[in-house]
């Protein structure tokens, strides 16, 4: 999904290419009065962002709520939930969170490796059945999650595989591969083949050329793809729900506790993850802007 891919691009400031340079001629000062459009759009954007951020602010604020069981009414400020995250329900939230991290890490590593290999092959080599392979890679992204989840569950049922952590990881790897391919492929396509040629001219073996030239140049794309995979896996609920059996993940924990009330500790974990991701992205963006400035100075 392109939204996700762009999310990854923003995520690392890492994905393909640099910002488009500004080719437009300098702006002519035009004498016109300040029109409606000049403040209407910015005002709209501000309102739109406030709207987008409301539930996030709500979740964050209620992570400080001195709630007893369900976290619905505001009962006063406390840092208690942040300091003792794992103390609720025998650590069920933390266990679910830990499972999500493990699943996300394994699925990310496998999907990133498989997807990167496919991306390189698609850009660099000729082979038959190319369009069928492209279709096979595209379809998982165009299939609703509930269909992917039910399909895998039907298959596990038919083969008689019990659902546990492994089936979740198998499922997550499957839907991450296509996103990795899309993200890394853009990076492979923007890679200058002359660099590898130079490596070969200097008698580098194919392995040396790959590990010393191709791989380092692809790293930003691969990292962006890995971050995207992890984010997709970590927040997935629908596919997980069909293939998890009795194993709990963080989203599944929330789904199950939704009917009896979510403890504030879940808000703490979600807020912490949010802050971590936000800081990561902003640091990456700012450092990318700084790098672009440095490059511009060098001419």
């Amino acid at each position: 999904m392109s939204g996700e891919v762009q999310a990854a691009a923003v995520l690392g400031g890492l994905a393909e290419g640099e910002q488009l340079e500004d080719r437009r001629p300098p702006r002519r000062p035009r004498d016109r009065r300040i029109g409606l459009g000049d403040w209407l759009l910015p005002a709209y954007a501000v309102i739109a962002f406030v709207f987008l951020l409301i539930p996030i602010a709500y979740t964050f604020v209620f992570s400080f709520n001195d709630s007893i069981k369900s976290n619905i009414a505001w009962r006063g400020f406390t840092l208690d939930k942040w300091l003792n995250v794992c103390n609720v329900e025998g650590g069920a939230v933390c266990e679910a969170f830990g499972n999500s991290i493990v699943i996300g890490l394994v699925a990310t590593v496998v999907a990133t490796a498989l997807g990167t290999m496919i991306a390189i092959a698609l850009v660099r080599y000729r082979f038959r059945a190319r369009s069928s392979i492209s279709l096979l890679l595209f379809l998982p992204m165009a299939t609703p999650e509930v269909v992917l989840g039910a399909g895998l569950a039907a298959q596990f049922l038919a083969v008689g595989v019990p659902k546990d952590m492994t089936t979740i990881i198998l499922a997550h790897t499957m839907f991450c591969i296509s996103f990795v391919v899309v993200t890394v492929k853009a990076r492979v396509a923007s890679l200058d083949p002359a660099l590898e040629e130079a490596g070969r001219d200097l008698y580098g073996s194919p392995a040396q050329v790959f590990w010393r030239i191709t791989f380092p140049l692809l790293t930003p794309g691969i990292l962006a793809a890995a971050l995207l995979s992890f984010a997709l896996s970590f927040d997935d609920f629908i596919i997980t729900n069909f293939n998890s059996g009795s194993v709990s993940t963080f989203p599944k924990y929330i789904y199950i506790s939704a009917s009896r009330g979510i403890p504030a500790e879940a808000n703490v974990i979600a807020s912490a993850v949010f802050l971590f991701a936000l800081i990561l992205v902003i640091v990456a963006q700012v450092s990318r802007a700084a790098r672009a400035k440095r490059l511009a100075k060098l001419g």
Binding site: S2, I56, I118, P140, V146, V147, G151, I282, A292
Partner: protein, 303 residues
């Protein structure tokens, strides 16, 4: 664009492509994985959808058969859910487009002079991705519950019936779907609008077109790839979603969508054939929709 990404790489200048055994080595593991865990499950799903109950078995035991009556039965039983799924998804997609277009236009066109601001605004657009999908939906449930500030104020102002509810209604479900998939609409729109050459707009106004005509005849057609990609990226997950419509989240008994019925049949009632048949119907309708829509909007190169 994801949809375009599979097509664009071919257009870029590349090293002469080689045929090699390395390609096979690179492709085989990943492709095999997708065949095993994506393609065969779809086949399993089709086979399951045609199963008949075991004659002497318990609940949840089925034999392979060619019981296509399953499809007739699920359409008869769940027609309202099917219609609701696509209806809600369609309305949510249109709302998300209306919400996102001005925002994407502002970030992609008006804010070009300030690249750092532009990237920070993009971070804000994807910020909802960073907090759990389920928690942000639950947050809306609390914010819009009957006792909440917003709803009580609306009632005090007589904008809402005193015994009215928001959560549990179709409006709440559509609201949730719209909110949750807005980033999927905004990002592709942004990426086409970001490349929009504003000189075309100036040319339009130099030729005495008013702002509205310029928008309709130049901006919209040039941003069509973004509109198509955003619409698909919103519509597909919205039609299959069952979180927003679920009773514990924004929905009620009368807002259940296909996803809810598929989940209930598969995971609770153990009526696997019915769940599988519904899944196949959902997927078939979406594929037809994608095909027709992409063809009609004249952006076939997207796929």
């Amino acid at each position: 664009m994801a949809f375009a990404a599979f097509a664009t790489a071919e257009a870029l200048p590349q090293a002469p492509k080689r045929r090699s055994r390395i390609a096979l080595f690179l492709l085989l593991p990943g492709i095999l994985y997708l065949v095993l865990f994506f393609l065969t499950p779809l086949v399993s799903l089709v086979l399951t959808s045609l199963q008949a109950p075991s004659e002497f078995g318990d609940i949840g035991q089925y034999d392979y058969a060619f019981n296509w009556q399953n499809y007739v039965a699920v359409v008869e039983a769940y027609l309202p859910h099917i219609l609701r799924s696509f209806g809600y998804a369609l309305v949510a997609t249109v709302l998300a487009l209306l919400f996102s277009y001005p925002l994407a236009y502002f970030i992609g066109v008006k804010a070009r002079r300030w690249p750092l601001l532009q990237s920070l605004m993009l971070v804000l657009v994807i910020a909802p991705f960073f907090i759990s999908f389920l928690l942000r939906t639950l947050a809306w449930k609390q914010i819009l519950s009957d006792e909440s500030f917003i709803i009580t104020s609306l009632k005090a102002l007589s904008l809402m019936a005193p015994d009215g509810h928001f959560t549990g209604t179709p409006f709440a479900v559509i609201f949730g779907l719209t909110y949750n998939f807005i980033p999927f609409m905004t990002l592709p729109l942004y990426s086409t609008l970001e490349r929009l050459d504003t000189r075309y707009l100036e040319a339009g106004s130099d030729l005495y077109a008013n702002a509205f005509t310029v928008f309709r005849k130049i901006t919209i057609p040039l941003s069509m790839p973004g509109i198509v990609a955003g619409t698909l990226l919103t519509f597909i997950p919205a039609a299959g979603d069952y979180i927003n419509a679920s009773r514990d989240f924004l929905g009620g008994p009368d807002t259940q969508m296909m996803g809810n019925v598929i989940e209930a049949n598969f995971l609770v009632l153990q009526n696997y054939p019915a769940a599988a048949a519904l899944s196949i119907i959902l997927m078939a309708v979406i594929l037809v929709f994608v095909g027709v829509y992409v063809k009609r909007s004249g952006t076939e190169d997207l796929l």
